[in-house]
Amino acid sequence: MNSASALASGRPSTIAKRLIATPSVGPLLVLLAFGVIFSLTNPRFLATQNLSIILQQTVIIGTLAIGQTLIILTAGIDLAVGAICVLGTILAGKLANSGYDPVLAMALAVLACTAAGVAAGSLIAGLRLPPFIVTLGILGIITAALRLISAGGAFPVTDAFLGWTGSTIRLNGFILTYGVIIMLLLYGVVWFLLNQTQWGRHVYAVGNNPEAARLVGIPVGRLLLSVYVLAAFIYGIAAWLALGRIPNADPNALQTANLDSITAVVIGGTSLFGGRGGLIGTLIGALIVGVLRNGLTLAGIDPLWQDLITGILVIVAVALDQLTRGRR
């Protein structure tokens, strides 16, 4: 009723509404605002070199946020995102260092990550346990297992293949790593799956109204399982990208991955209630997190404050989501 009257009464309000309704416009404005603020406070911020560094710093969280987006779209959440990725780096490093072929080592590590996704997905889809609890449990299990495997300490990973994703190529003075390219390719592939295939439609439908999805014959359980498995596979790829960024397997790494990846997804306009949002927003959201951390570092602000600000950001983003939902 209100939408019909708006259509009839005023063009300008319609255009404004469309802009608000276009999911990635809001996040893009936030990204630009942060860009303007940081370039005013530090002229080095906008230097090509710094921009390519931001992109490289975004690689891990940006990739993890792809999987997190898929899961949040189904109205779930993944608290084991960082732990699964670290599992990948530790296993790949351990295996390669103990003489395994590095390609095989990496493949086995990705497989182990995917297996964690199979476990999470089976418990959530099969036993209908809440995703929050299942992934919290898996976080605890993997964290403990990692301490045992690595005997508590970090170790260097010097293999060329495992570090390959960190090697750079130059484009007009802009430095890209293969890791950045792989991340962007993953965004492209998963965007296609979400927006152009039946599977993607069903992800949105299951997140929006699982009962309606079941009634029209969508195999809800199988779909949820596929989402958790694909997400965990992507975390495995992120492990490879992480070894390229920092050639060091550290069981204590990626402590803020949960906060950062969920923040990226939510700032990007994907609703924690499921069924709404998308990957383009998440990419922008991941860049916002990257820009924020980079800009604050350039401004000489302690990393602790970065976590604090990211924490505020995610709460504000969720509050906005809830407010707009209430108005509908």
Binding site: T197, N208, A212, A213, V216, G275
Partner: protein, 273 residues
Amino acid sequence: MAPVEPRAQAATASAGVILEARNVVKRYGHVTALDGVDFELRAGEILAVVGDNGAGKSSLIKALTGALVPDSGEILLDGQPVHFKGPLEARKLGIETVYQDLAVAAALDIASNLFLGRERRRPGFLGNVLRMLDKKGMRAEAERSMADLKFRLPSINSAVESLSGGQRQGVAVARAALFAKKLAIMDEPTAALGVRETGQVLDLIRAIRQRGLPVVLISHNMPNVFEIADRIHIMRLGRRAAVVSPKTHTMADVVAIMTGAAKVEQATRSQAG
């Protein structure tokens, strides 16, 4: 008391009957939900199913849509015995159901909702290998079917949540019309709607009948039933108490039969032939 003789009724079943149930029984422990119920839906009609709470309306509908498996009795679709093991099987055979609680994905657009679970893919490489959706084709088909049913909506691309309750239920009804090959079953489709919105949905159900698709309408709302139904199937105590015509019976008659306050022999005898 047995106002309708099941066997006699079955013998008269003939061409023109789309969906039929004979002597269907369903028990839950000591509770008998369906006590040898008969049912007959004829081609091109709107058959209302009414009954008091607990009379077996929903159990009957569940049996007809495959949501429950009867303990005994027969269900025939186009004269052929069928044994549904689940709602999907009934759907595959051309029986579509619309539920009262707006079974739509509100965040998705109208076309996506119409084709939800039955999406079409593009022809050739894009569809077969890349599994790409035929969004344009589905949109065009959605627009055509809405125009066919004379159902007016703002835009086929708008999200269902931007629609009124009546329009939303209209999307669910249109989905049933688009895919039902044999019949559509509407389970209290207007229960959550206001007067004007109910009118929209009833118009839509009439448009579906006009296209030749028979409709089973479960409803509590007597004025609606009398406005739209060709025949009224009255449930009482897990059985069919009577089938009456809104032309020959009043609402008071129907309520009397529903509650057991009136004898129904004469009412059913005139309808049975």
